[in-house]
């Protein structure tokens, strides 16, 4: 266990990452985008109200709108960034011809994987926690509880860890960063968009066929959605159809499994990577 905590790979990776220009550029752009989107959401919520609105706008409504906007924007940005950090981790060692030195050292394949994973993941956590003050603004309006915040942050962390593990797996499979990054983005797109489309088609077909418009969806209809990284956020859409979905537990378990499997396959690939060099 100590070898995983005092892993020289972590220090090396963090040192290298934080020396890059994007180390400070990305957090800046990220926070500007999230805050810009939240500001726009506030403006839209407070000024662009439908004419047939029956009651005055409540603070809680603003709070929930801002919160949802912030967490969804945040996850979109982080999902776009996760492959950048993880999918190039091992391929860059192959491209720079430094992988042989790692493989012939006393670092084990799990240690190499762990070092790469922690470095990629910690950077994403830096971005995630950097935006927490923005999320905290929502508390001022009400409608959002600390439990909601913890659930969203926890869910985002789990999704990011899994996506980072998937990115590292891609990195262990391919020789070139460009291929590995493209593969990672394809997986992220499939999880985020294709699952949503499949769910929309299936649920529509099911509702039309059974005429059960206000009943919860059966498991097989919901199943594709569990793979969607935004699924846990849907529970905030009270009264907008979220009551027809299961709790996000299945999604969390599925993402945990994806992360663990990706890690296992990536470690196996690292053990065999000498043949690729």
């Amino acid at each position: 266990m100590t070898r995983f905590i005092r892993n020289p790979m972590i220090l090396k990776e963090l040192r290298q990452r934080l020396r890059e220009r994007r180390a400070w550029l990305l957090p800046t752009l990220y926070l500007l985008t999230v805050s810009g989107t939240v500001c726009f959401a506030y403006y839209a919520t407070t000024t662009m109200q439908p004419a047939n609105r029956q009651h005055p706008l409540q603070g809680a409504e603003i709070g929930i709108a801002l919160f949802l906007t912030a967490v969804v924007t945040q996850l979109v940005l982080l999902l776009l960034m996760a492959p950048i950090f993880s999918a190039g981790s091992l391929t860059i060692e192959k491209e720079q011809r430094t992988f042989a030195a790692l493989l012939t050292s006393l670092l084990s394949a799990p240690q190499i994987w762990w070092g790469k994973f922690v470095a990629a993941f910690l950077y994403l956590l830096l971005l995630l926690f950097g935006a927490l003050p923005l999320l905290a603004i929502c508390f001022a309006f009400g409608g959002v509880e600390v439990r909601d915040l913890l659930q969203v942050v926890g869910s985002t962390i789990l999704v990011l860890a899994s996506i980072s593990a998937v990115g590292l797996w891609c990195s262990s499979v391919f020789r070139r960063s460009v291929h590995s990054t493209a593969a990672s983005y394809t997986i992220v797109l499939v999880l985020s968009i294709v699952t949503l489309v499949v769910f929309a088609v299936w649920s529509d077909h099911w509702q039309t066929a059974t005429a059960r418009f206000n009943q919860p969806y059966p498991t097989y209809i919901q199943a594709p959605l569990w793979l969607n990284p935004f699924y846990p956020f849907l529970s905030f859409l009270n009264g907008n159809g979220a009551e027809k979905l299961d709790s996000p537990l299945s999604s969390w378990l599925l993402y945990s499994a994806i992360g663990c499997l990706s890690a296992a396959f990536a470690i196996r690939n690292i053990q065999r990577a000498g043949e690729q060099l």
Binding site: Q16, R19, Q96, F99
Partner: protein
């Protein structure tokens, strides 16, 4: 120190090694020569635990390369043919990382890093970024990185590629020094003059097989065995040379052409210099008299010329 028996390695469309065997004793510096695709890099990668062979066995420092790779890694310093380097790290950080990767701790770690900095001549530039080093300095850094954990065996794959003459000379001197320290070194290279200068034995490899072996390259002629090969270039009749040779028991002509002959003389360099005096006394004009025998380059040409495309 290195024992390789009947190694076979097949790639999808070619053969890497085809029944290659090799024994290297402790403290030997063995050169591995052969054309591109002969199997040199494959052999070194197998010994460095990077790849596995399909058949055969390989033991390094008493440990099986395939079933027990970790102790092999602890006893081997490996320098690949195209060795990458972390450009965005400082020299000291680079060495610290690999010291940690080889689990060096405390005083041993500090001493190893300090020794590496001094050995490479980079002690004054320890805080410089690696990217600011020239190729020669980077190669020095690579080499000392390989020596950080005090390996018993050094595997070098084309270590002099791309180096300028001075850097090559420095590398050669460094390798000689390591050989004198008792390190076992296996070096694959196309620079035959370097190998001739530093290796105690040369192994010729082609199509994944041992083709030929030659010993005692690095030893001066006076220390060599019972006979000396001489290359003579002269102006005058060949009969003078053959006549002079006739009086020496055991002497023979190995190769002869107009104005040139290569002969084998019994004895040491003293006897060959007596023979030279004799030829001059007979009135032959000698333009060149070389007791180094057939050079590695000539041997290489003879061995591989027929195989060249």
């Amino acid at each position: 120190m290195i024992e390789v028996q009947q190694l076979r390695k097949y790639y999808r469309r070619s053969r890497g090694l085809d029944g290659f065997s090799l024994q290297v004793s402790r403290g030997e510096l063995v050169g591995l020569v052969g054309p591109n695709g002969a199997g040199k890099t494959t052999l070194i990668k197998i010994l460095a635990t990077l790849i596995k062979s399909d058949e055969g066995s390989a033991v390094v420092a008493g440990h099986d390369v395939f079933s027990d790779p970790r102790p092999v890694r602890a006893s081997v310093g490996y320098l690949p043919d195209v060795a990458g380097i972390y450009q965005d790290m400082r020299i000291q950080e680079y060495l610290e990382f690999f010291a940690d990767a080889f689990r060096l701790e405390g005083a041993v770690r500090s001493r190893a890093i300090q020794q590496a900095l001094e050995r490479s001549g980079l002690a004054d530039r320890r805080t410089d970024f690696v990217e600011h080093l020239s190729l020669g300095w980077k190669q020095r850094l690579h080499l000392v990185k390989c020596l950080l954990h005090s390996p018993a065996v050094l595997l070098l794959d084309e270590p002099a590629t791309g180096l300028d003459p001075l850097a090559r000379i420095a590398l050669r001197e460094q390798l000689k020094h390591l050989r004198d320290e008792g390190l076992t070194i296996l070096i694959a290279s196309h620079i035959l003059s370097d190998l001739e200068d530093i290796c105690s034995r040369i192994v010729f490899i082609a199509d994944g097989k041992n083709i030929r072996e030659d010993s005692d390259f690095a030893l001066p002629a006076t220390q060599q065995a019972a006979s000396v090969d001489c290359e003579i270039r002269y102006l005058g009749p060949r009969d003078t040379v053959t006549g002079a040779l006739a009086g020496i028991p055991g002497a023979r002509i190995l190769e002869a052409s107009e104005g040139y002959c290569r002969i084998s003389l019994p004895g040491t360099a003293h006897e060959s210099s007596d023979f030279l005096r004799n030829l001059l006394a007979l009135g032959l004009t000698i333009t060149s008299f070389d007791t180094r025998g057939l050079g590695l380059e000539a041997k290489y040409r003879r061995t591989f010329e027929r195989k060249a495309p």
